[in-house]
Symmetry: C2
Subunit: 232 residues, 2 copies
Amino acid sequence: MPDSEYRDIRKLDLFAQMADDNFTSLMRGAYVQNFPAQIELITEGEPSDFLHIVVSGSVDLFSTWNGRDTSMATVRPISTFILAATIKDAPYLMSARTLEKSRIALIPSQDVRAIFDADGNFARAIVTELAQCYRSVIKAQKDLKLRTSLERLANYLLRQQRHAGGGAAFELDFEKRRLASVLGMTPENLSRAFKGLQPYGVTVTGTRIAIDNQADLERFAKPNPLIDDFST
Amino acid sequence: MPDSEYRDIRKLDLFAQMADDNFTSLMRGAYVQNFPAQIELITEGEPSDFLHIVVSGSVDLFSTWNGRDTSMATVRPISTFILAATIKDAPYLMSARTLEKSRIALIPSQDVRAIFDADGNFARAIVTELAQCYRSVIKAQKDLKLRTSLERLANYLLRQQRHAGGGAAFELDFEKRRLASVLGMTPENLSRAFKGLQPYGVTVTGTRIAIDNQADLERFAKPNPLIDDFST
DNA sequence: CCGAAGGGTTGACATATATCAATTGATTTG
DNA sequence: CAAATCAATTGATATATGTCAACCCTTCGG
């Protein structure tokens, strides 16, 4: 593993505070690999042998049941996924596939569990990370249960806008078909939902979104920190 | 706090392995209180001052947005709730109200965080508990996104049946209006959904459910451990 | 015992969302 | 470059779900 990557991973909240020795020994068992786009990295139901870290590229977490499938989340650098399965030594609940050419670090799950026992700072970081993940899913569930698809899209746009720096125009950061799946609707419906937001000053040109009337859109979307603020 | 309650709480996975001293000092700051039915214990958005433990009775976790509300989960004895908010020292994402006369233990959040730092076994237990909670919400989200309301009801009945011992007949463990909210539908729709399951051998009499044709219902519901098995 | 209150059910209807089919437009590939 | 592919869009239609109003039934308190 190149030094720069090593340092980037070290900087993750999850690893930043742990003892040098422990981080080194975690990384000794780890390996890093390049994957092409559209590769299934893990499959739900399988045992969780590795904690995964997206070093570059992006990964889609999705689930399947009875012939249907849905995107649950997107993981972007630099962060980990399937921490909970690793900790519990339980089967993955979601599958993961690369969205683009990606570089992924893999740390054996049993090493993570062992160092957890040995390093209090690492344990604390894991707890914080898990609590954060838990709260994110609760927010997503509130979004799903309390809002219509139009409202979910409106709030998604506002979040994305803020994430992109807050300007009136910004780019969607992934394919519309997958955005539809993340938001819990069909691609056709997403298309119509974009049209449904035109009266509130939303203009769509390909993957470019312009919010012409911020106040109008916000009045409609009614964003709420207890659903839309990912930092708390 | 009566000795029997003290011992019951001690037996929780969360506290079972921690040092005696630490448990005692956690409990020193705690207090236990009786609440009547329909009391709002906590309100979403407020700071999380206490970790709550349901000693007896039951508690509904729910959320509100823009005049709508939805039941997220039910907490039954003996277990804790809002652990994630306590750990992160962040505002509650959900409100909680008693469903019936209930006895609740309250442990100051800052004590939980302090003992977490001092007791490795407690830290490990918290991680396991949080990972469990996370996985439960992921399962709930898969249920919501991948299934129709009829399928959600069918699978709920199968889960409830197993929970009640596996017999062909069992009782619903809460009001239909709240079941509807938990399953993400209206009470009217739940009523119709019950009728929709009649062809698969489901008979409803008040709160009593009879599953006359187990195989038929399972063929329709297609239960899946990665969604419906709460123990993993 | 009566009457009010509230959960549950039902029917009629409205709305939201999905599905299917066809088309467009951009991108890739031989 | 032309053909093939695929995402995105659009229209027509079907299905799922929500809303509103009325009614039934039980429960509970005067």
